[in-house]
Symmetry: C2
Subunit: 388 residues, 2 copies
């Protein structure tokens, strides 16, 4: 195995563990902040490390477009490139290619789209995604999968047909990914389970994906617009089906309550752009809810964002009044400090969750973090969409 | 005296010294980076401190407009606001009001302009400038002066008339500033000498300004567009006229060669937006010249910006290839790292200059820093204007 997973404590369905990778270990349940294009938007690696983050994400789609996979390989891969010496996980690039790129053709070989940088035609499929992720040098790579959208306005029959087709394609592509990945022992390939919100199709996808003996498995196709209850239901159903001795990764989720619900179902790994995307836009998380820093109510508020937080912004004594000023004045330091705070907020949440699992005190954790059991807040005025 | 200045070494006309302020000391010749609106554009105070900067600038004009002087006073002043516990110097706000603001009326009482934020009419004059700088709480405050533009297309007679009028107004305004400042002992007021490029008018302004016993004096009206030779000539003439036992501050200058020439004439303090403004735009300084990071030649260059530099970017192992990527991808981390490098570059230049003064080895300094004796480089494609 390229990575090693040990479980050190259990609490109901939740597990506390540790994943050992070629670039060091990370504790689970883990929150992985997203360094999309090889940078954590205004944070130095030292600042990322200072938030307590042990593993970060790179987006293969963005790095494929710029600086390009071959160039990145010549430069020694993403660890060397961005000076992050800890574990890195890459997505396959498929999700972004399907959802973000213009003029795309989807067929059995993958997706062809136009680069938003130079307009060139780029193909991404199972083999090329593996190749890109090999170039990046991520410790954990994700299979190239077909992620169907949420039900939307489809009839039950149409939705099931679409999810079934995605399941089948995901299974065929996984076999090609496994073959293309080969036996390299410095990078671990995770499979991704699809199946939408249909219990039997989730089961079918688990069976197909887990027929490959892989070092970890992810739950995909969640948080694509289906609402909080459906997310929780799907995760509670799917997570326990996955092999108990492998890390389970819920992709692109989410708010604190989503993470806690999923951790209780046995999920070990999480990623989300919420802390950085919201932080850049002046929305910050606290133990009791979120704040819009541009709000005039903060103009003379000398308190930190969250008195309970030990991040560089809160412990450093930067007031809400100052942070509001930075956002009103368009100063880059505002997004930087708000992102540092938000990532640290999630890492404190995860650290306390891991302690609660070790101590078997989930109720105590929920008293400590009321947001762990509150429904996800609505998107506030000016906030960017947070899912997935 | 609100500040104390000690000279510890001399080398020709150059002096090495130390200025003691209510918020700590700084070594001279000193370079002061500019935190215009109460933030060093993307750098935390810890990162600013890490560049070796001991004193920073705030612009009274920007802080007057936002967050506003009264609000800033209620928030405890700029040190508390931006979490910078070292010395702060503020300009008077006059220069920006004259040069940047729209719809301005200039008369004996000062300047009236429209706020670029809300369009409101704002007046700034000797008394109100002192009041704003008191609110900011800067350790060193600058007199409200009348800074005439460069000669431009004016005839000799018209230019002399204009500079003479500015001299006289500067002297009248200084008397009002001194009166408005009063006897407070926590903030030091510096006078500003004008006189353009006319030796006798410089002398006249020195006489008028230095008739006030002030803790420091600045050379203003330099680097307003008059060219490198005129800058050096004016500084060489003016600096030695200023009281030898007070720190001398050359405002808004400049490139390394300008700073070294002025230091040799006996100037002790410098500020310039070059390191941060150029850094934000991807232009970085090295010991042998400057680089445009967006240039394609850096795309696969694994070297740091400057192998001799010990800044967070260079010593941290961030390659030119990565920095280019950050600028091409519009990642905030690019401006942050380039600004850190550029400020550190200037601080290393100053530290070596101070050692050279102590050791009486100016020729050795010039061999070590060839850019100290090269003329200022032309503005490169895409660079913003650097003066003043």
């Amino acid at each position: 195995m390229t990575i090693r997973f040990e479980i050190v404590a259990r609490c109901g369905g939740a597990r506390r563990g540790r994943v050992h990778t070629p670039h060091g270990s990370f504790d689970t349940p883990a929150f992985m902040p997203v360094a999309t294009a090889g940078a954590m938007k205004g944070l130095t690696p030292a600042q990322v490390r200072g938030t307590g983050s042990q593993i970060i994400l790179n987006n293969a789609f963005h790095l494929l477009l710029r600086p390009g996979a071959e160039r990145l390989a010549r430069l020694g891969g993403s660890h060397r490139f961005m000076r992050w010496d800890g574990p890195i996980l890459t997505d396959s690039g498929g999700y972004q290619a399907f959802s973000m790129a213009e003029i795309r053709d989807l067929d059995e070989d993958g997706v062809t789209f136009r680069s938003f940088i130079d307009g060139s035609r780029i193909h991404l499929g199972p083999e090329s995604s593996m190749s890109v992720q090999h170039a990046i040098g991520a410790d954990i790579m994700m299979a190239f999968d077909d992620c169907p959208p949420a039900r939307g306005d489809l009839s039950d029959g149409d939705y099931r047909a679409r999810v079934t087709a995605a399941n089948d394609r995901t299974a065929r592509w996984l076999a090609r990914c496994v073959k293309a990945h080969g036996s390299r022992d410095t990078q671990a390939l995770f499979g991704i389970v699809q199946g939408g919100t249909e219990p039997d199709l989730r089961r079918a996808s688990v069976d197909a994906v887990c027929s490959h003996d892989l070092p970890g498995y992810a739950i995909g196709g969640v948080a694509v617009g289906e609402g909080s209850d459906a997310i929780h239901g799907t995760v509670r159903l799917t997570a326990p089906m996955l092999p108990a001795d492998r890390p389970r990764y819920l992709m692109g989720v989410g708010y604190e309550s989503d993470i806690w619900a999923a951790a209780q179902a046995g999920v070990d790994m999480f990623d989300c752009v919420l802390p950085t995307r919201n932080g850049r836009n002046g929305f910050v998380f606290t133990g009791t809810g979120s704040l819009r820093l541009r709000n005039a109510t903060h103009a003379e508020d000398l308190r930190p964002i969250d008195a309970a937080c030990d991040c560089e912004a809160c412990a450093g004594g930067f007031s809400r009044a100052y942070l509001r000023h930075l956002f009103m004045a368009g100063e880059m330091l505002g997004p930087t400090l708000a992102s540092i705070h938000n990532i640290r907020h999630f890492q404190r949440f995860m650290a306390d969750m891991r302690s609660a699992i070790s101590d078997n005190l989930p109720a105590s954790f929920e008293r400590q973090w009321p947001i762990a059991v509150q429904p996800a807040p609505p998107v506030t005025e000016g906030a960017e969409p947070s899912r997935p």
